[in-house]
Symmetry: C2
């Protein structure tokens, strides 16, 4: 269930400027009183498909996946959320229950901000509302882009795309430890595990990446980018 953490005051949270920069001190302290921060170990379930949505989730640290069972032995990963990301923002205004589960794929600190508190703040602070709208707009763009990448790229292109995504957007480094299994990679970009392995092996043989278990090093990012664009 995750363990309650002593959470930093929102006012001194290092990340506050990215999130709440249009909230004044007193508004920020209101938010502060209706949030709780939890720690989740790698693999731990944060919430289950069908649970009621009572809070906005903010990823303080770590990495979590949003996923959905689609049959007995098949899942799909909808997206991966990283620090600074809001989760649930997509659906809190249109749904009462989660249509996906959330699981930590790295040790994570997750902030829960009570839904009514959040909504009250939006209703009373127009600038904050605009910030949230902007944030949501970006999220939607991301979904569209992911849809586009899936439908327009072949297997090699998709693998290249996601490896670059990990390197550039999540770890900001060409060497990183994949937080997901081969199977989860497949679930994320709509492939089969065997083909994920095959394509990555090809990239290794072509000298584009080095593989050591879950440690990946991208040795030829330009080529990878080209494959992503071409595919």
């Amino acid at each position: 269930m995750g363990t309650l953490e002593k959470s930093p005051d929102c006012q001194i949270c290092a990340f506050k400027s990215l999130m709440f920069n249009s909230l004044k001190q007193d508004q920020l302290s209101k938010i502060n009183t209706c949030k709780e921060q939890f720690h989740f170990g790698k693999g731990e379930l944060v919430c289950r498909e069908g649970d009621p949505i009572n809070a906005i989730i903010y990823v303080h640290a770590g990495l979590i996946k949003l996923h959905k069972r689609i049959s007995e032995n098949q899942s799909q990963i909808i997206s991966i959320a990283k620090p600074f990301d809001f989760v649930g923002l997509i659906s809190v205004f249109s749904k009462t229950n989660y249509f996906y589960s959330i699981t930590a794929i790295e040790d994570s600190s997750i902030c829960f901000i009570a839904k009514d508190c959040f909504i009250r703040e939006i209703a009373s602070n127009g600038q904050f509302a605009l910030d949230i709208l902007t944030r949501m707009s970006k999220t939607n763009d991301d979904v569209l882009e992911a849809k586009f990448a899936l439908s327009s790229k072949n297997l090699r292109g998709r693998i290249a795309h996601i490896l670059l995504d990990f390197a550039n957007n999540i770890y900001k480094s060409n060497e990183f430890e994949l937080p997901v299994s081969r199977r989860e990679m497949a679930e994320l970009i709509d492939m089969r595990m065997e083909n994920v392995i095959r394509v990555m092996s090809e990239f290794r043989q072509d000298g584009i990446i080095k593989i050591n278990g879950h440690i990946i090093e991208i040795t030829n990012p330009n080529m990878l980018q080209k494959i992503s664009d071409m595919g």
Copy 2:
């Protein structure tokens, strides 16, 4: 470029309750002063990829498609918007320019609400902001669902899905005139035109639908639903 229409006052617009129900009379009349309604004939371009986003688009009547060139001889249709839909809401807060073109696929009346006017109204009316957030949230859910349908269904399933979508969500009837060509059908659900035709012919031979040019009648909706779910 579309022709300016005498537009109804927002206050008496038959659809206002669905859109602007949290705006008071004076706020509504402010919106009213910064909107213009245009008529676009079938096939007419509403805006072009790259154009600056100056307004929120509201579909008063008709049907429009959002589409994007992806290569010399390939386009992709991102979505189809119907009456009551906002367009641009997705991107107006995160982008300055359209990343898609918009074309009328039926004779349409389109309302343009000036962006700054709209934003000013959000900032000063918390309840209106929440309405917009809800609307945007729904749009995002739709995109996710479309992504899901694409990645999890085979060709037959995708055709079944989109035919049911036209019947249930757009025309509210099992008999309707397809507003798109076979090629556009393909662009909408990531197939090739030849296969759209093949699959639809199969459905016709199996007695699931009747085809008369662009007129489609779904004679066995249950079977079609089953194909959509199974595929």
